[in-house]
């Protein structure tokens, strides 16, 4: 195995990690605060992808400036509606929420199929994103870093920083952390927990929309694209530890590198199975993930 291949796989690991993180961050957020498993999360990704497609139809090749805000706002609104109509009524019943949101994912998929057709829609990366940085000369001659992948990595880092800032440096974030630690006390001190739940869920959905817009540059936009990401996104959340944004980032990095390693050493088809087994084994060691929420409560999830 030569150095170019090795560094190539390292880059693959980082790139996969950035994609996993984008896909999982919104999920981690709502799971952390509300203990809600949103099986329709993948469909928010899909929704963001379709909004990106619409943006490219409306404004032509330089659509990205419109696509990201549109995907964020559109998905956040859809998330808010979902929270208000269904999830709000199921708080405290996470298993039931899981099933209900799975039903919603079926409905959203079928709706996408009927609106946009079961064939996916084409989204082309703008011209300034096509191409790659190529290393010339030296031991790493021929190593390439595609612009699109670098862009998705930057996007992922940006979203991570934004979320971190929001949670740790803003008033909103303070409320979120307060509710996370003790819902009753936070509520008694005047935090409107219901409203906060809705905002967090909408934020998580909005991030999924942004992720969908970014991933449209690398993957198809079609009714079933969400299911391609959802299981791995769950794994990131579980490995990272519930509600920990930092944990999510580390877990994404870890899973991305394991994937790249497994794919590089064995075959790509075997890597997914290896990844799943590794995660299950990992949970034997740390059942609450890398960065569990510390709590004295007996029955915290």
């Amino acid at each position: 195995m030569d150095a170019v291949f090795l560094f190539g796989q390292l880059f693959t690991g980082l790139s996969v990690a950035s994609i996993l993180l984008l896909a999982a961050l919104g999920l981690a957020l709502s799971f952390g605060l509300m203990r809600v498993i949103n099986m329709a999360h993948g469909e928010f990704l899909m929704f963001g992808g379709y909004l990106t497609y619409l943006a490219s139809q409306w404004v032509g090749p330089q659509f990205l400036w419109l696509a990201f805000p549109l995907a964020f706002v559109g998905s956040a609104l859809l998330g808010a509606v979902l929270e208000f109509t269904v999830i709000r009524r199921l708080y405290g019943r996470p298993l039931d929420t899981l099933l209900a949101t799975f039903g919603i994912s079926l409905i959203l998929q079928q709706a996408a199929r009927q609106i946009f057709g079961s064939t996916g829609v084409p989204v082309m990366a703008p011209a300034w994103l096509s191409g790659a940085i190529t290393v010339h000369g030296g031991a790493l001659d021929g190593l390439t870093f595609p612009y699109v992948r670098l862009f998705v990595m930057a996007l992922s880092a940006l979203v991570l920083i934004a979320v971190w800032w929001l949670l740790n440096r803003s008033r909103f974030g303070m409320h979120v952390r307060a509710v996370n630690q003790n819902r009753e006390v936070a509520s008694s001190l005047g935090v409107n927990t219901r409203q906060l739940d809705m905002l967090v869920f909408a934020l998580g959905s909005g991030i999924a929309g942004v992720a969908g817009a970014g991933l449209a540059l690398l993957a198809p936009v079609n009714p079933t694209v969400g299911s391609a990401y959802i299981v791995n996104a769950f794994l990131v959340v579980v490995v990272g530890g519930v509600g920990s944004v930092l944990g999510g980032a580390v877990a994404a990095l870890l899973l991305g590198c394991i994937t790249a390693l497994a794919e590089g050493l064995t075959s790509v088809s075997l890597a997914q199975a290896i990844l799943l087994v590794v995660v299950v084994a990992f949970l034997q060691w740390k059942p609450r993930g890398l960065f569990p929420t510390q709590s004295r409560a007996l029955e915290e999830a």
């Binding site: 708080y91 298993l95 899981l98 099933l99 039903g103 088809s269 949970l283 999830a301």
Partner: protein, 382 residues
């Protein structure tokens, strides 16, 4: 914590009056009427139904056994497994391996192995030449797998949605492996093209009728057996653990052991169901046992009533029949209907149809889901 939201009417509450109890007793005769009618109808079906409806009915009855398993695991033990397809598949594949060998001329390899460039029968296929061994494996393999997975999870006190995600990941890993290991498992095509089973011609005219009787018998035995087990102190303990795992632990029981036992029972039932379903369909493939199957199973059980064996099995049977009908008449609408069912059942019928019927029969007492803490905000009020 997350299990508290589920059904819990089996625990007597102080609020329930003596009058309500006697009303319940009065309705008992009425309640026994329906099961009798259903059993009678199932016994008469082969004499009334044409071949396709009978085959369809037999098929969904086979699936109902898996629903019984889901009812034990979820309804009684409070474990929402999204990976029951794994056990279903193990049972199905165990039988399918034997059927494939039986359909292969002596001295030859199963056709898919030849086409995948394999030239020696893999060691784990060897014992499946024997029918009794394969039949044993139909229950042993899923049981062992369930034991291992359950032991690994519950020992580490992994609960709630984590269990759901892990089981889902496991079934996905299994399906991915099955699809990739084409030479050993026939990959995504699945194992198909069976001829005979212990001398019976699977393609003969009488076979579907015989299979129906066999299915009905196995379903009946599974039902009775499961009902009996759940009626023992073991069943009560499962309920106790579901409703409050920590309190059961403080009382001196080891919840992990009981949960593993329930998980194994659920796995074995799923395996039985998978083997029967393989016979009904004449094929088994990874697509039949994946994530979608596992979730659908749970939904029909939820619709019928997760805590009641009648509800779970009935939900599965009626749900599958409805699916057959509606998906033929309006394929586009089917996913909307199913999606909406998921949401509505969970929101308005948390105990399923069986819960609704039960509360109607008992004179309206407990019509609403038990007044358990639906929100963490009030959890200390219990």
């Amino acid at each position: 914590m997350e299990t508290q939201g589920s059904v819990s009417h089996t625990v007597p509450r102080p609020g329930r009056s003596v009058r309500a109890q006697s009303v319940k007793a009065a309705h008992l005769g009425k309640a026994a009427l329906w099961p009798t009618l259903v059993v009678l109808a199932l016994l008469l079906a082969p004499f009334v139904l044409a071949s396709y409806p009978l085959a369809l009915l037999g098929r969904v009855l086979a699936l109902a056994i898996a629903a019984l398993g889901a009812s034990v695991v979820w309804g009684r033990a409070g474990i929402l497994s999204l990976g029951q397809g794994l056990f279903f598949g193990l049972g199905g594949y165990a039988l399918a391996m034997h059927l494939k060998l039986a359909a292969t001329p002596k001295g030859e390899l199963p056709d898919f192995m030849v086409y995948s460039g394999i030239n020696k029968l893999p060691w784990f296929w060897q014992p499946f030449h024997s029918a009794p061994f394969a039949l044993l494996m139909v229950v042993v393999l899923p049981g062992l797998a369930a034991y291992l997975i359950g032991w690994l999870m519950f020992r580490r006190r992994i609960t709630g949605v984590f269990v759901s995600i892990i089981t889902q990941a496991l079934v996905l890993a299994f399906v991915t492996w099955l699809g990739g290991a084409q030479g050993l498992t026939s990959g995504s095509n699945g194992i198909t093209d069976f001829q005979t089973f212990m001398g019976l011609n699977l393609r003969g005219p009488d076979f579907s009728r015989e299979l129906y009787w066999a299915t009905l018998l196995i379903l009946g035995v599974s039902f009775a057996g499961t009902a009996w087990v759940l009626n023992t102190p073991f069943g009560s303990l499962l309920t106790a653990i579901r409703d409050n795992e920590n309190r059961s632990r403080f009382l001196g029981y080891n919840p992990a052991a009981f949960k593993v036992a329930a998980f194994v029972l659920g796995g074995v039932l799923s395996g039985l169901s998978g083997a029967l379903y393989t016979l009904h369909l004449g094929t088994i493939s990874p697509a039949m046992i994946g994530v979608a199957f596992s979730i659908e199973l749970v939904v029909w059980v939820a619709l019928g009533g997760r805590a009641s064996l009648w509800g779970a099995a009935g939900g599965m049977v009626l749900g599958q029949l409805a699916k057959d009908r509606i998906s033929s008449a309006a394929p586009e609408a089917w996913l909307y209907i199913m999606g909406a069912l998921f949401v509505l059942v969970v929101m308005y019928l948390p105990e399923g149809v069986a819960g609704l019927l039960k509360s109607r029969l008992s004179g309206g007492a407990g019509r609403r889901p038990a007044p358990l803490p639906m929100h963490p905000e009030v959890k200390d009020a219990v």
